[in-house]
């Protein structure tokens, strides 16, 4: 085992998770290579420090405080508990969108009805059904404006005002857009709780950034994380690191992949020369050094991994492109190469 591969097994060696033969190889490599030895010692010391921290006792009274917090919780399995759980599973964003969608439907239905409302007598009849809260005489004109086609033009300035309010409070800031929304509703002539639908529809537009702000601002206030949510979050967590199993230096990119077609055996020699020139090497798909530089028989694909120092990656890309290599989506690989290397997975087909 050479230094290159020994380096990537140091952590497993530290944990005693290697076979006897692999451990013996690591020990030989450590004895022969001083820089590897230093690297191992540094890692071992870091782990020892971390382990020396040891477990920490929970603060005094922690147990009692937890029990006090759940004292008022409904018993699991009860209707209240089930209702809370059901609501907790629905993302607030979905509830907000549903509410906004409902308002849009109401607005559209109101507009569709309005051309038929030639008789002024129809208007009061429509008002209580659409807006029960806005039944006072002071709100009547607002409601009429909402149900008539002219409401569109009357609502425009309000919409613009909403946008100004929204722009004044960036979605990521700590400003309370609910206040802005209430202010907007009040400007429309209603109270926050009894805003006419036109104002409510517009304030719903303002509430969208508010929802995004909530999402950013109060994760600790969310309903408990369910198994499914935990799984979803874990899956999301993996997205950022997938393909990064080959070293921290290429965490976000993973291996780079190229396909070379219509190649002959010379291409292997060329690739080997490129790897050697850049201080890298060719390996097979399992990560072992490539000994045979021959291509697979006609009709079969040859897979070669070229592991090069990160600094040489750009040059290698140039070589591969010059050899007719075409970038392709990288395959999934779980081989550990090290943190300072870039891996090119090269697929060679069409041997002659």
């Amino acid at each position: 085992m050479d230094t290159f591969f020994a380096r990537n097994r140091l952590s497993a060696y530290l944990d005693g998770n290697l076979s006897d033969s692999e451990s013996a190889q690591i020990e030989t490599a450590l004895a022969q290579d001083q820089s590897l030895r230093r690297e191992y010692d540094t890692m071992r010391e870091a782990v020892e420090l971390l382990r020396a921290l040891g477990p920490v006792d929970a603060p005094e009274g922690f147990h009692a405080r937890v029990l006090a917090r759940v004292q008022d919780e409904p018993d699991p399995g009860t209707v209240v508990s089930l209702w809370r759980r059901t609501l907790g599973r629905i993302p607030v964003e979905a509830l907000a969108l549903a509410a906004a969608g409902l308002l849009v439907v109401v607005v559209i239905q109101g507009r569709n009805k309005s051309p038929q409302q030639d008789s002024p007598a129809d208007v009061p009849a429509a008002v209580p059904a659409a807006v029960p809260a806005a039944s006072s005489s002071s709100d009547r004109s607002e409601t009429t404006a909402y149900t008539s086609p002219s409401a569109t033009t009357q609502a425009e300035p309000l919409n613009a005002e909403d946008q100004r309010v929204a722009q004044a409070v960036p979605s990521g800031a700590d400003g309370d857009l609910r206040t802005a929304s209430r202010r907007t509703a009040a400007k429309a002539g209603g109270t926050p709780s009894a805003a006419p639908p036109a104002a409510a529809a517009n304030s719903a537009a303002v509430q969208q950034p508010y929802v995004a702000d909530w999402e950013q601002a109060a994760p600790q206030d969310q309903a408990p994380i369910t198994d499914q949510m935990a799984a979803d979050q874990m899956a999301a967590d993996q997205i950022g690191t997938r393909g990064g199993e080959l070293g921290s230096g290429i965490d976000m990119e993973g291996p780079r992949s190229y396909r070379i077609s219509l190649a002959d055996n010379q291409v292997m020699a060329q690739l080997s020369a490129v790897a050697e020139r850049t201080g890298g090497r060719l390996t097979d798909a399992s990560g072992d050094p490539l000994k045979d530089l021959k291509l697979a028989p006609q009709g079969k694909t040859t897979w070669v991994h070229m592991v090069v120092p990160q600094a040489a990656a750009q040059d290698v890309e140039g070589y591969l492109t010059g050899m007719g290599g075409v970038p392709t989506p990288p395959p999934t690989t779980d081989i550990l190469y090290g943190s300072d290397f870039t891996v090119f997975v090269i697929q060679i087909s069409g041997a002659q």
Partner: protein, 214 residues
């Protein structure tokens, strides 16, 4: 036959169940005292995990409390497909991530270091522990080392910090870490390798084991 019955019977009434499983069943059958036992059983480990993740005792306690409240609300649905410990650790990691994200967005808990540059790439002065002259209080020294180590953990990527704490602080096996993080075992190994290398890189500029092992 009698032998088989004898093997299956347990005087404690647990029917040979794993202790966690027995507690869960007791809770699901209405024994609220079982929840208290679960909290007592896991409070130190969950607090430790939260503390190493968050780096602040008060915040760590809040997170740990939230985890146990979440546990209370969900325990009746726990079907035992994973181990209880795996489930609790997973929820704790998620709570820590959420809380950290929240604090980061609210710019809470951010401060300028007093001891010099923290960047890994700068050439600024290296933070060092005070010289250990005669009369130096070893406990103070250890506490300072722990603080520097915690600082180093804080500098790591979340995924690195998670795996280091699970493996080297909580001493969990690879298989359980893989289940908690829902990652292949090979990925756990490679990520742990990189996390340790990164921690070593950060710490090599600050302290040595002999600083606290004396």
């Amino acid at each position: 036959m009698l032998l088989l019955l004898g093997l299956a019977w347990r005087p404690d009434g647990s029917d040979g169940l794993d202790p966690d499983e027995a507690l869960v069943r007791r809770f699901q059958s209405g024994d609220r005292e079982a929840y208290s036992d679960i909290v007592r059983r896991y409070q130190d480990r969950i607090f430790t995990l939260s503390l190493r993740w968050m780096g602040d005792r008060q915040v760590a306690e809040e997170v740990a409390q939230d985890v146990f409240v979440a546990l209370y609300r969900s325990l009746d649905r726990f079907r035992g497909e994973a181990r209880l410990s795996t489930w609790i650790f997973r929820v704790t990691v998620n709570h820590c991530k959420n809380r950290r994200l929240y604090r980061r967005r609210r710019k809470m808990g951010q401060h300028e270091p007093l001891e010099g540059p923290r960047s890994l790439d700068d050439d600024g002065p290296v933070r060092q522990l005070p010289d250990k002259g005669p009369g130096t209080d070893t406990r103070v020294h250890r506490s300072e080392a722990a603080r520097i180590l915690q600082d180093a953990l804080d500098q790591l990527d979340d995924s690195y910090r998670t795996i280091l704490v699970l493996r080297d602080v909580e001493d969990l096996p690879y298989e359980e870490i893989a289940q908690i993080l829902e990652l292949p075992r090979g990925t756990v190994k490679s990520r742990l390798h990189r996390a340790r290398a990164e921690l070593a890189r950060v710490l090599s500029r600050t302290i040595r084991p002999e600083d606290i092992f004396e």
